[in-house]
């Protein structure tokens, strides 16, 4: 088992044709990562998710080499007109924007031209910045509304075996433009692997971004994603995330409300099964007046699963009239599951509306009795209550076709196939 995972500095030499600046950036990050390796529970941000322990218990080795897998034919979602990107093990392998005006869209393979931004806290970001060489960059011009949804197929292949993938993605949406995406994880892998993603979303003035993220195929994946989102004035961000089925999953989401009147909505619903460990960590920075943030996170925890929600709302002194809302609800199906919720408010402005709440409880026996008195057995009743609990989030999706699609995915998961 891996005790003290470090990355050899000659890994950086393998990147040919990079600028001196980039090389320095990678080395700097590599050194930052190597100083302490994977974070453990002594670090405040990893208090509930001791990644060092998890890695050492689950991996004998971790290969940082980039896997070059050839694309097989991707099965696209049927009866649903959409644009798509196909990512294979994080690598952009094909894209299709047939429904759109192509000159409004710039899609590129991974690149990075920002070598100044050194993250202070997160070793996984250091690791990513040291090694990432895959991913995509998508830029949408000003004044362009997508006609159809963009589906991003995230495929993980059979070749994966104790690898760690580091990829870096960027989405930038121009002024008055609008993009809807669905992130869909397609898992073909059979073995353990780690996936470490750095994502950067930039919304210009008045831009709208709506995302639905569906990860519900069972896999031996250990995922970490850091997402940095920047919102200019009057821009709107909404994300529905339906993560589950992973051995380990940590979503670390940062939102910077930098422009007045911007708004961010985050809705998450998860069903965690045996041995799943999932953490959603958010930090919403209200930096200017008149912004709104809304977060609702629901977790259903089955036997021996662990869920964590750490939600922080920061309101800068000048950010008057902030409206921030945060709610976490957990449904524990079993005594030996565990849920931790840690809301945090840090507020320096005085004229703000901030509320947060957190509930966790077991299944309601009165409801079970009611359902059983209509002929459903206990198992069916529990399933119905679980789907009802998660449905409250799904019902918030506006598009009917997407709602149905998500519902079907979640039902499959509840029925264990």
């Amino acid at each position: 088992m891996i005790n003290n995972f470090k990355v050899n500095s000659n890994e950086i030499d393998k990147f040919k044709k990079i600028s001196k600046q980039e090389k320095e950036f990678r080395i700097k990050n590599l050194n930052l990562f190597n100083k302490n390796g994977f974070p453990n529970n002594k670090s405040e941000d990893w208090k509930f998710s001791d990644l060092r322990d998890i890695v050492s218990k689950n991996f004998k080795k971790l290969d940082v080499q980039i896997i070059n897998s050839k694309s097989k034919n991707t099965t696209l979602i049927k009866n649903f007109d959409h644009n798509f990107l196909v990512l294979i093990n994080g690598n952009l392998s094909s894209s299709n924007f047939d429904f759109e005006e192509k000159n409004k869209i710039k899609i590129k393979n991974f690149y990075n031209d920002n070598f100044s931004d050194i993250n202070k806290y997160n070793p996984l970001i250091h690791l990513n910045h040291a090694l990432s060489d895959t991913g995509y960059s998508l830029e949408i011009a000003d004044n362009y509304k997508f006609k159809k949804t963009l589906v991003i197929y995230n495929i993980f292949t059979k070749e994966l075996n104790e690898n760690i993938l580091n990829s870096r993605n960027k989405i930038q949406i121009g002024k008055n433009s609008e993009l809807h995406t669905i992130d869909l994880v397609v898992n073909e892998s059979k073995n353990k692997f780690m996936n470490n993603v750095y994502e950067n979303v930039i919304l210009k003035e008045n831009a709208i971004y709506k995302n639905i993220c569906i990860q519900n195929e069972k896999s031996d994946g250990f995922f970490h994603k850091f997402s940095k989102n920047t919102l200019s004035s009057k821009s709107k961000y909404s994300s529905f995330i339906f993560p589950s089925g992973l051995k380990f999953n940590k979503l670390d989401l940062e939102f910077n409300l930098e422009g007045e009147g911007s708004e961010c909505n985050l809705q998450a619903a998860s069903l965690l099964n045996k041995n799943d460990h999932q953490e959603i960590k958010t930090r919403i920075n209200h930096l200017v007046p008149n912004c709104k943030s809304y977060q609702i996170v629901k977790n259903v925890l089955n036997t021996e699963s662990k869920g964590v929600y750490q939600g922080k709302i920061f309101v800068k002194d000048i950010a008057q009239k902030t409206d921030a809302y945060q709610l976490s609800k957990a449904l524990l199906l079993n005594d030996n599951s565990e849920f931790n919720s840690k809301p945090e408010l840090e507020i320096y402005a005085d004229d703000v509306k901030c509320s947060h709440g957190s509930t966790s409880g077991s299944i309601d026996e009165t409801s079970i009795y009611y359902l059983m008195s209509r002929g459903l057995n206990r198992e069916e009743s529990v399933r119905l209550l679980v789907s009802g609990f998660l449905n409250e989030i799904i019902e918030m999706i506006k598009s009917n076709s997407i709602k149905k699609f998500v519902q079907k995915k979640i039902e499959e998961q509840i029925h264990g196939n």
């Binding site: 009165t366 409801s367 009611y370 359902l371 002929g375 057995n377 206990r378 119905l384 019902e395």
Partner: protein
Amino acid sequence: MLEIKNLKASINSRDIIKGLDITIKPGELHAIMGPNGSGKSTLANVLSGKNGYHISGVIQYKGKNLIEIPVDERAQKGIFLAFQYPTEIPGVNTNNFLKTSLNKVRKSKGEKELDTLTFLKIVKEKSAELGIDEKILSRQLNVGFSGGEKKKNEILQMKILDPSFMILDETDSGLDIDALKTIANGVNSSRDKKKSFLVITHYQRLLNYIKPDFVHVLSDGKIVKSGGMELAVELEKTGYKKIK
């Protein structure tokens, strides 16, 4: 249909039903009246099979002892309880739930499961028959339903599941005149010589519409008096004090 002998039920070491006998024959409608806290809902729960009670005595249903049989199987065997306080279940679509429920009941009777279209046709038919707005069925189960809507929804479920022994626990409480007629209509249209009812109520007005064969007074966990419709009329005038 149903034979209850020396039934006793306690919960949290509190005796609530204290030796109760009732025999209900096929086709009969029995009414139970009684003061608050006398054990009427407890009796309804015990008959439907709710967990948590300590029970002794005999409950024979269609010749079989029910006591060991769990709630869901009793429902499948045709026992239906219209709840005094129907539970709100967020996120669960009423129609989806009803379809699952009906198919469970049908399956246990060896009947074919229904597809969505056929199911919706039945729902449409039954709600029209009762004069219930079927729109509430596309909402979450009982969530935000008004008191009257909840009660009507119980009766609609009863009509759809087509049980053979029906318990109504104060389904008439808190209803306006029209809703009361809806409920009475639901009961009357289900009556036939193979089906029986146990109707718990505080008021004579429902009984005027549904004409019970027997009226029993439950007080402190026991039947203290039985009679016909005239007993309900008398109770309306004198209250329960004289009966004890």
